[in-house]
């Protein structure tokens, strides 16, 4: 018997019992719709948690910091310093090279964290975590700006401030900051003249001196004067060995990242600049003196190269993050990522999805029983018809397949309409909640219909088997 003929026969017998067919399809439709909707809710939750992780710093990024300083030190202490290079676990160009050759590593970029003091008019702030990153990497980030934009490649040193950096400024007269008053200082971050002191140690020495004097005399203007003008500490005369006033440099602002004082993301507190530009600046500022924060040789001389504070390793796929993290750890560096968090979030959302899907599956199970019941009834009703077909030479498997085709059509009908229904329900849910709460994953469109067909055919299998094994003789006698 031809396939088309079997399908045609199945179609005919479904049409003959329209109401019953419709009701059975309705059952499958509701079952499929509830599964798909529940899964979509689970998927929505999943995406939301991943988005949250993304906000707190990439899903595919492994952060590398220098290897355990203790182990390096102890190696030195053992007198084996000749064999063990104290810079072995520092982050250098060659480290970057090494890591970029690991499997699954897409790219690596360095970050140099630096400290500085920024002074503008009557206000000052300590920049604890200036982030110097190659400008082409920064320009590649799709961060939104409140004002301005990234510096261009080859530009002189320019800052990009996070939206919350302004609240770090303190009034130099009374040291009152945003956190005391709830008011930000009156600085135009974009256009104010801001001077940067890179030699923080020198500044601190001077500052604490002035501070002492300030508290002694109650003259805060002194302090302001020294910080703002840098023309030489006013307290110099009172000290035996006066710290020389560190030089200050005018650094323009290239931009401010988007966000108000209530918006927080991982960039909000940072100040960014181009790595090359700061490298040049450091050369100018420190010449061949050691740069604060950088390691020095035993004789106190700086190394010729600049060691990075952090390497950011971009992994090709989320699933490989763990592997790369471990490989870097094995090299002796400290590697961290959000992978544990991601794994946890995933596990959680998976179990949520499974639970939600399970709730939906109950209704599909009920629908499947409905199909089996409908088919059974229809076989009892058509016992004679089946017998006649057998007598007329219809193959046993043809009969079975006709019934399976009926079940499959019910499944397909219910699957497609159920998908449409859940689509509408998801749109309504998203409208009501005002967010992407329910997301039907792409594979669901295909899988739900196939799943409905398979479930229906499984439900129709036992009845079809029964139809097949009906005795033709008894069937035709059944008047």
């Amino acid at each position: 018997m031809r396939f088309a003929d079997k399908v045609g026969m199945a179609w005919n017998s479904l049409l003959k019992r329209k109401l019953r067919t419709m009701l059975t399809i309705l059952g499958v439709m509701i079952g499929v719709a509830s599964i798909v909707t529940m899964m979509a809710l689970g998927e929505g939750l999943n995406r939301q948690s991943l988005e949250m992780i993304e906000e707190y710093g990439g899903l595919r990024t492994v952060e590398v910091r220098e290897g355990n300083a203790q182990s390096v030190q102890s190696a030195e202490g053992d007198g084996a310093s000749g064999a063990s290079d104290p810079t072995a676990y520092k982050l250098s160009e060659s480290t970057m090279e090494k890591i970029s050759h690991l499997d699954h590593v897409e790219s690596v970029y360095p970050t140099l964290e630096f400290q500085a003091v920024i002074v503008s008019g009557a206000y000052h702030m300590t920049l604890y975590s200036g982030q110097a990153v190659p400008i082409e990497v920064l320009r590649g980030m799709n961060w939104e700006f409140e004002e301005g934009e990234w510096p261009k490649e080859g530009d002189e040193l320019k800052y990009v401030f996070g939206n919350l950096v302004i609240s770090d400024f303190a009034d130099s007269r009374d040291n009152i900051v945003y956190w005391n008053t709830g008011k930000t200082v009156d600085i135009d971050m974009m256009n104010a003249k801001m001077f940067t002191i890179f030699d923080v140690d020198a500044y601190e020495a001077l500052h604490s001196k002035n501070n002492k004097q300030g508290t002694d005399t109650g003259n805060t203007d002194n302090q302001t004067g020294s910080a703002a003008s840098g023309t030489g500490g006013t307290g110099e005369t009172q000290t035996a060995s006066p710290p020389s006033a560190p030089k200050k440099y005018l650094v323009p602002t290239a931009g401010v990242l988007k966000g108000g004082l209530d918006d927080y993301n991982q960039y909000s507190w940072n100040t960014y600049c181009d790595l090359e530009a700061i490298r040049k600046m450091f050369k100018k500022v420190f010449k061949n003196k050691p740069i604060p924060g950088q390691p020095v040789k035993k004789n106190g001389k700086p190394y010729p190269e600049l060691f990075y504070s952090k390497l950011s390793v971009i992994v090709d796929e989320i699933d490989n993050v763990d592997e790369v993290q471990k490989a870097i750890g094995d090299l002796g560096y400290q590697a961290s990522s959000n992978s544990e968090w991601i794994a946890q979030a995933r596990e959680q959302s998976q179990s949520q999805q499974a639970m939600l899907g399970g709730i939906g599956a109950v209704s599909l199970l009920v629908a499947a029983i409905g199909i089996a019941n409908t088919m059974m009834m229809s076989i009892y009703e058509r016992t004679k018809e089946i017998g006649v077909m057998k007598v007329l030479g219809c193959g046993l498997y043809d009969i079975q397949q006709m019934f399976l085709a009926e079940a499959a059509m019910i499944g397909a009908g219910g699957g497609i309409t159920g998908l449409l229904l859940s689509f509408i329900v998801c749109i309504i849910i998203n409208k009501v909640t005002g967010a992407l709460t329910a997301v039907i994953p792409l594979w669901m469109y295909f899988a739900s219909v196939v799943f409905a067909i398979i479930v229906s055919m499984l439900a129709g299998y036992a009845p079809s088997k029964r139809a097949m094994s009906l005795s033709a003789l008894e069937a035709i006698r059944n008047n």
């Binding site: 007598v391 030479g393 046993l396």
Partner: protein
Amino acid sequence: MGESVISAKSVYKIFKLGEERVIALNGVSLDVGKGEFVAIVGTSGSGKSTFLNMLAGLDRPTRGEVIIAGTHIERLSEGELVKFRQKHVGFIFQAYDLLPQLDAIENVALPLSFRGVSKSVRTKEAVKLLKQMGLEKYMKHRPTEMSGGQQQRVGIARALVVKPEIIFADEPTGNLDTKTTIEVLHILQDVVHKEGNTLVMVTHDNKLAGYADRRVHILDGEIVFED
């Protein structure tokens, strides 16, 4: 009489009803020649229907041989019996047993579809036979839109469509009035005498059996006489 198309040799059929054994057929032997119209006559419970089922390959004998068109059907499996029926046998039922969801053409064409014949070919065959049965006007009618006589003519066309070597008819006129009964029997006679088919008909009515070439009388599972 030419070579026999049907040959039954001491066929027994024993049913078990609980502990009791019911002998439905008690060593029946019968030969039917090609192109013969044979009536098997007997009262209800005589075993005539059981015998027909054996001859048609619907059921297997408990003991004995049934050879139809050279095939020992008692040795065939269920699946092989289906294939055998597709090839050699046409069937006419007492209650016509047309499929209600199909129209006349589709009903007649049905056995051909079981054989995998394409739709255009089987429709052509069905139309030809329906015309032969005088049902030109009822081609597109469903069974419920036709009289009993018309339905049975569709049933006969359905039996003929596979060009079977043997046609079996189980009380083909049992549900018809006298006038239609005679009509149908004439058609059956024509089928045998003009087309050269072999026809085995079961009936309880001796008068109807008179249309056959040969009558075999069965009583209590045994052939009592032939004429």
